[in-house]
């Protein structure tokens, strides 16, 4: 296979992955098996990045006979020898290749830097959170194991790390009944146990890197929602079979109270509303959908593995 064919295939994988992300966004099954859907989102993100960078490098590396990686090595050798332009090629073609190579390397650098800076920012912001919590937060018997902050608005979140913390505002204590509070704590503990923050960071960074990209923004929203659904599920699984229905109901009530905390009264008049994220979670808790069948889940895992493997293979093979 020639270098150009590889480039075309890689570009096709990149475009296909973005399209696939669009389809996944509209699909109804992710809420049935959020973990499988998150894996597919991660694979789509990784495949898009590898394929887009790979396609540009494939054009730029002039790999007529060899694979992209070999081609890049040859190119580096030529540059070292002081023969940047191939004598057999037209100047225009050489310029196109050089531009493509630079674009590919630039994209790779941007993606890498963005991911790194998102991690660094998150680590720094969490350190600051810890410092502030040490000065401001206190324990309360209503929420054993959690920290309380004097803030009137309802808020509950978890701070992951070696010494992980669950933080709730005084507004939350005022808003929720004791059973609902313990349901919220179970949900947050599920986040911490599964290190869901690590799942979120790459998508947060993508959204920051491409703030105008609809796909990046929506991918972040979709994954954030799936992570919440996963924590809802895990909180329920941590309880015995008999207690699950009750906990689901308490969690749903807590969600509804959180969601409507800012709304004082219901305006009159019927309105058609597209289902929001909170509504989706409440519905899911009260009428749990059946998880995907084993075979379907296996298919999703296989698809995710192929998505990542194909562009890597295309980069290596001649």
């Amino acid at each position: 296979m020639g270098g150009l064919a590889n480039a075309t295939l890689l570009a096709a994988v990149a475009v296909g992955s973005v399209r696939g992300a669009g389809a996944l966004m509209r699909a109804a099954w992710p809420r049935r098996s959020p973990a499988a859907a998150i894996l597919l989102w991660q694979a789509l993100g990784l495949a898009t990045g590898i394929a887009a960078v790979g396609a540009l490098l494939a054009i730029g590396s002039n790999g007529q006979r060899a694979g992209v990686i070999d081609g890049l090595a040859t190119l580096a050798q030529r540059i070292a020898d002081g023969r940047l332009f191939d004598a057999h090629q037209s100047v225009l073609m050489s310029l196109v290749r050089a531009a493509s190579l630079i674009a590919g390397l630039a994209l790779l650098t941007v993606l890498w830097c963005v991911l790194f800076s998102a991690f660094a920012t998150a680590v720094q912001a969490r350190r600051r959170q810890r410092e502030l919590l040490a000065l401001l937060a206190y324990g309360d018997p209503k929420v054993p194991g959690a920290l309380v902050v004097d803030y009137p608005t309802a808020a509950a979140y978890c701070l992951p790390g070696i010494r992980s913390q669950i933080v709730v505002s005084v507004g939350t204590l005022d808003l929720l009944a004791p059973a609902e509070l313990s349901a919220v704590l179970a949900h947050e503990r599920a986040h911490l146990r599964a290190r869901h923050d690590l799942v979120l960071i790459p998508f947060t960074s993508l959204r920051r890197a491409f703030p105008r990209s609809g796909v990046a923004t929506q991918a972040h929203r979709a994954v954030a929602l799936l992570v919440e659904m996963m924590a809802d599920d895990r909180a329920l699984l941590a309880r015995g079979m008999a207690a699950r229905g009750l906990l689901a109901r308490e969690l749903a009530t807590a969600l509804l109270r959180f969601g409507t905390a800012g709304t004082d009264h219901a305006p009159v008049g019927a309105l058609a509303v597209a289902e929001g994220e909170l509504t989706a979670r409440v519905n899911r808790l009260l009428t749990p959908p059946r998880p995907l069948p084993r075979a379907a889940q296996a298919t999703v895992f296989l698809a995710a593995a192929l998505l990542v493997a194909v562009p890597i293979v295309l980069l290596v093979i001649p």
Partner: protein, 142 residues
Amino acid sequence: MNRLGDLERAIMEVLWQTDSPLTVRQVSNGLTQRNLAHTTVMTVLDRLAKKGFARRERDGRAWRYRPAATREAYVAELMLTALEQTGDRDAALARFAQSVSGAEAVVLLEALARLEEGQAEGDSGIGLWEDWPTRHCSPRSR
């Protein structure tokens, strides 16, 4: 060290309680724990100044300390960052839920009322939701 953390917190409380900048001795007197060495309090105040939580200024031969910001300002910073309501610092935290507005809030209020009604009647709650449409929701009066 946890004890040092507790002391930092107690000292910030003393600083937040007064409007005027305090000397090390005044801070010591304000603490409930009275038997602390002067140097200990000074060290902690120094640490707080280094972390940016306290500001210090010369007053003759002594330093006077005051908080860099009010307690409320720090609470606001803590919560707004966590809730991602400030654009600059993204902690990538998982939040339980955020409040919604407009039409969805109205629908959710109705759902909450129905759920609470069901609770009062001892209903299991699950059956209530079967007519709840998945894609589009509208209040009862539809």
